[in-house]
Amino acid sequence: MADEGIRVQSEMKDGAVIVAPEGDVDLSRSPVLRTSLKQALTAKPARLVIDLGLVDYMDSSGVATLVEALQIARKGGTKMVLCGMKDRVRSIFEIARLDTVFTIAASREAAMAV
């Protein structure tokens, strides 16, 4: 029904793939993010940066999508880094006790450096 799209911008930079979803990542939207991440990971890039700076809200379906990507990344030798999280988004990672499982950087620049 209706819009289940979500804008997900992807770009390549210095051998890293940067994926930046926008808006709310909830059950109606996480499938699109999942497709973008899987696509970004097929080429087994050295680094995958997921910039969450434009994500205002995330529920556990979004978190599950990121956990799945992390597992694929690890298998493929890709370093996956999350960055730009707003407090509200960060708190769901803390509640899920996943804030230490993911590599989390403050900015895109920091995410390229860790």
Binding site: M1, D3, D59, A64, Q71, I92
Partner: protein, 179 residues
């Protein structure tokens, strides 16, 4: 184009007689009846979040209440209705008052009801969080952010989830405050 107005129940099997929303001795101030389509999650979240804010919860608490409601609705959609998008869900909201009813709003009570699969409440539980895998977080999140979480089978059909959150003692108020 000209929608013909007739009585609901004659035309739509989903709409029950009487409303199936949480039936408490005190009627809810708000009940949102929605179809089990994920596209409407944001509407439900924003409603609950705005109401919580107006009841005097902190910005952080409003976000947590919205998240718990979202996770509860997601579980109804995925596990209860197996992703069917046309099942009815009722989300009812009550402000909770202090014991004497004089001391203002102390918390919020939210009840989520459905006509979906019934499961034994003891089967609805969080997985071990140490094991890292996609999924299995919803129930944990709900229990973590709410003060009271009760799953029950409804009388004949469907499940009922009751969620209560109290305001923090320090007030933690984002939008109240005298002029």
């Amino acid at each position: 184009m000209p929608i013909q107005f007739v009585e609901y129940r004659m035309t739509h099997p989903l709409t029950p007689t009487p409303p199936h929303a949480a039936a408490a001795t005190r009627a809810p101030d708000l009940t949102l009846q929605m179809v089990s389509d994920p596209v409407y999650l944001s509407g439900a979240r924003e409603m609950v979040s705005a109401v919580s804010r107006r009841l005097g919860f902190s910005e952080e608490a409003c976000g947590q209440i919205a998240l718990a409601v979202d996770e509860a609705l997601c579980n109804v959609i995925r596990h209860g209705y197996d992703k069917r998008r046309d099942g009815p869900i009722w989300l009812s909201v009550w402000p909770e008052y202090g014991d004497n009813g004089q001391s203002g709003v102390k918390g919020i009570r939210i009840v989520v009801e459905d006509e979906a699969r019934q499961v034994d409440p003891s089967q609805i539980k969080s997985r071990n969080l140490d094991e890292i895998r996609p999924g299995g977080l919803g129930v944990h999140i709900i229990r973590e952010v709410m003060d009271e979480v009760t799953f029950e089978k409804r009388d004949r059909v469907g499940m009922r989830l009751t969620l209560v959150k109290h305001k923090k003692k320090d007030g933690g108020c984002c939008s109240a405050g005298g002029a």
